[in-house]
Amino acid sequence: MAINLKVNGVPRSVTAEPDTPLLYVLRNDLELNGAKYGCGLSQCGACTVLVDGRAVRSCVTPISALETSEITTLEGLGSIDKPHVLQQAFIEEQAAQCGYCTSGMIMSAKELLDRNPRPNEPDVRAALAGNLCRCGTHNRIIRAVLRAAQASGRT
């Protein structure tokens, strides 16, 4: 059946079963690469997107629950030519090795900075506690979020 979604500010209509997890619609129907499949169990955070400003796990969120929501993915923050302050900070800190967890990290960090524009290091660690990284890039990710907070504070 047809379901209407608003993704990155744009109304989109997709044909899929109502129980389809948002993740597969974002990736396969809307061709957005940001959210990643990691576990399908809401355990790793690789699929994190914002729904009405809250960080949610798109792998366990059915599209039927989202028809009136504003959905934001990594692509909704900025682009390679015009990166968001968080994306820019991740580049400056070289805060990715394989980078598979990065999109989820940035989306969880976005929620944090929207709620708390001047977090300290323990705040950042706590906000990203549900996002797993395997390459050991943790310290760079923390530094990138703190850098983004500082950069946002200056503007």
Binding site: G99, T102, G136
Partner: protein, 733 residues
């Protein structure tokens, strides 16, 4: 024999046929001049570098990007030698149709092998360009200057690479002299990685992101445990499900292809529920796994023997250490896209070795190599041999059933945890005699381990999962162990310390009760844990400070330098003692005894009530010879430390007789963001030494530093990994 199983013995009916094989490079002809690095096996110059009509360069490497930043580092080396700006060097990597065959991207060898080949090939290409320019300008070569792809004569005349049309279709000689390090402009700089901007903005980066036109989605149904045989499954019901295009069954290999990903997942679940299996053999009793490993047949090699006699006043000590099975734990399960079209198979894969994978696909698909192309596309970090090759074979088998339609197959989370080859469980037994002078007089060490390499391109049978389950199954390839000095289960088993007498024995255990292969560092993580823990135990027995005790047994000046540097950086105090809950420890290794030198100091905090150990802070000192990219090196070392702390505090693949119990992040927890240690690193650059592999240099020193810090904090020694709460509480009594 139809029942698939992981132990080769079950296929061969005995161990008599087993042969230990070591991987030699392909096409190694006798009588050819030895060329450096991977030039040896890929001797055509234009196999490495071509000058394009616009004067830019295309550079080819068989090594692939795994998130370690290797393509940026290799481009730095190439651009430096060919004298082009980085932006004018295009990298092509890991494609059976286009690039050199450099085997696997593994073992921290890419800088040493591919980097060396590129340095020599690009230096030679530059010399050829300068010769051509000299002829065109009528000026001696030593009068010419080169910058940014333009050759200049003293009188101001210039000629660009685009005008020189060099013939690089020739055998490399490796006779051109690379640039001296003092003149490096690109090598040695912290160049930002090329791949990161796309990764942080949702670019099409990963094989998981591919969606070629007409693409379908596949999933595979795995048995309840190793070696099970599929009796039946309700294929008709699955085929009638929405979107299902094909149900593919070949023996005990069962898969499904659907229009939409969620449809494939639902059909997988339906097939899983309806499937009836004859179960394979039970797994060993986990409580007895180390006894089991020690009791299995092994090929024993005595390595690193020094004859000496322990003095009469020597005191003897011994200790047994263990390391459990560990998962690669990739955040993204393995994925591949395959397309079968006009009799040809193309497989996009995040395999660490596209050529070895192709060799396995030849056997599984029964197709000629010329009809199969494997192309590397990045995946989630793998840290060794995970499901990457297996899923590529799965995808190819499904794609063959739907010609003309590409099939994307990503393993599910339970499948990645349950079926990937783990890092093997290991047992290390150390004994030593401590002389009256407080120095080690004799060192005896034995290690028991399964193979750390059951990777593709097996010499016999196949090493991809699906191959063992087909109606005409392939047997599992013979277990292999890389020879010393690099070693496999015995990697870093020979101490770098100068003992007057020593004996090291590697028990290479053949039969694999649980599927295992290469996990980052192979045996080095466990051996450095045991060796460096035992060094601390002996230092304590000798009443010596662990830093001073190490230095007293170590002549290698570069080894001494990293230990001294980390002690200084951490503010190590001679004889410093923990306070019952907080303490610090040191660990050191020269990776593989031939790559980078790393020393780590870790601080631990022990919650004696809960048994929880945390590592708030670590320090490291690193000597990797000539540094290609300082920030890239730092990233690899700090990543290795954090990953090692995760292994050390938390990780163990649990199983029982019925099968593997690690199936998700709850049953296989890893270190989280609040738990990650801070890392401070000192790099010791040695521009006149060759660059050394570093991607696996810090894991061994880090586990040892944490284990030694725990003992320093509490006065109790934990010799079995991981240092989880149950074990810690038991140790603290």
């Amino acid at each position: 024999m139809n029942a698939p199983a992981f132990t080769r013995r079950r296929f061969t009916g005995g161990l008599g046929a087993l042969v230990v094989t070591f991987s030699l490079g392909p096409n190694l002809a006798l009588g050819q001049e030895r060329l450096p690095g991977s030039l040896q096996n890929n001797r055509r110059l234009d196999g490495w570098i071509r000058i394009n009509p616009d004067g830019s360069a295309t550079v080819f490497t068989g090594k692939v990007e795994l998130g370690q930043g290797i393509l940026t580092a290799l481009a730095q080396i190439a651009a430096e030698e060919i004298d082009l700006p980085l932006a004018r060097v295009r990298m092509i990597s890991g494609d059976t149709r286009q690039t050199p065959n450099e085997g696997q991207t593994a073992g921290s060898q890419s800088i040493e092998n591919s980097g060396t080949a590129l340095r020599m090939a690009c230096a030679e290409a530059r010399a050829i360009l300068i010769d051509l320019a000299a002829k065109r300008l009528g000026v001696a070569t030593d009068q010419l200057k080169v910058a940014d792809g333009v050759v200049s004569a003293p009188d101001g005349r210039k000629i660009g690479y685009s005008e020189l049309n060099p013939d690089l279709n020739r055998e490399a000689t490796a006779r051109a002299t690379p640039k001296p390090p003092a003149s490096h402009k690109i090598v040695g700089k912290s160049i930002a990685r090329f791949d990161i901007p796309a990764k942080v903005t949702g670019g099409l980066v990963y094989v998981q992101d591919m969606r070629p036109a007409g693409m379908l989605h596949g999933r595979v149904i795995r048995p309840p445990r190793y070696g099970s045989k599929l009796d039946s499954a309700d294929e008709a019901a699955a085929k009638a499900m929405p979107g299902v295009i094909a149900v593919v069954r070949d023996g005990s290999f069962l898969g499904v292809v659907a229009e939409r990903e969620e449809q494939a997942i639902k059909a997988r679940e339906a097939l899983r529920q309806s499937a009836k299996w004859t179960l394979g053999p039970e797994l060993p009793d986990p409580a007895r796994i180390f006894e089991v490993i020690k009791s299995l047949p092994s090929k024993d090699a005595t390595i690193g023997v020094k004859q000496g006699a322990a003095p009469a006043d020597a005191r003897t000590f011994e200790a047994v250490y263990t390391k459990p099975y560990m998962s690669h734990g990739s955040i993204g399960p393995s994925c591949s896209v395959a397309e079968f079209k006009d009799g040809r198979m193309t497989v996009w894969t995040h395999s660490q070795g596209v050529f070895p994978l192709r060799a396995e696909l030849v056997k599984v698909l029964k197709m000629p190599a010329a009809a199969i192309r494997c192309v590397h596309v990045e995946g989630s970090g793998c840290y060794g041999h995970n499901g990457a090759d297996d899923v590529a074979a799965d995808a190819a088998l499904l794609a063959r059933a739907v010609p003309g339609r590409p099939v994307r197959l990503q393993w599910m989370r339970d499948e990645e945890f349950g079926w990937e080859p783990y890092g093997p469980a290991m047992v290390m037994h150390a004994k030593a005699a401590l002389g009256g002078d407080g120095k080690i007089a004799d060192w005896q060490y034995e290690v028991w381990s399964n193979s750390h390499s059951t990777r593709p391109e097996s010499t016999d049978g196949t090493n991809v999962l699906a191959g063992w389950y087909l109606a005409e199954p392939q047997k599992m390839g013979p277990p292999t162990s890389p020879p010393q000095p690099a070693g496999g289960g015995d990697r870093n088993a020979i101490p770098l310390y100068d003992f007057p007498s020593q004996r090291v024995v590697h028990h290479f255990v053949q039969d694999m009760p649980i599927r295992v292969s290469a996990l980052r560092t192979l045996g080095a993580y466990a051996n450095v844990f045991a060796l460096e823990s035992f060094m601390d135990e002996l230092a304590t027995a000798a009443g010596a400070d662990p830093v001073a005790f190490r230095l007293a047994h170590l002549k290698d000046p570069r080894a001494r330098a990293v230990i001294e540097a980390v002690a200084k950086k951490a503010g190590w105090k001679d004889g410093e003692k923990g306070d019952g809950t907080r303490g610090r420890g040191i660990g050191f290794a020269k990776y593989k005894n031939l790559a980078c030198y790393v020393a780590v100091v870790a601080e631990v905090v022990v919650d004696r009530a809960t048994g929880l150990v945390s590592v708030p802070q670590t320090w490291a000192a690193v000597d990797s010879g000539l540094i290609i990219n300082p920030d890239g090196l730092t990233s690899q070392i700090e990543g290795g430390i954090v990953q090692s702390v995760s292994w050390t505090l938390k990780e163990e693949v649990r199983f029982d007789k019925s099968g593997i119990l690690a199936r998700d992040w709850a049953s296989y927890p890893i270190l989280t963001m609040p738990e990650a240690p801070r890392v401070e690193i000192e790099l010791i650059n040695r521009p006149n030494e060759r660059p050394l592999g570093s991607g696996e240099g810090s894991q061994g020193p880090a586990v040892a530093a944490v284990a030694n810090a725990f003992a320093n904090a509490t006065g109790k020694r934990v010799r079995d990994l991981p240092l989880n709460p149950a074990r810690v509480k038991s140790a603290l009594g």
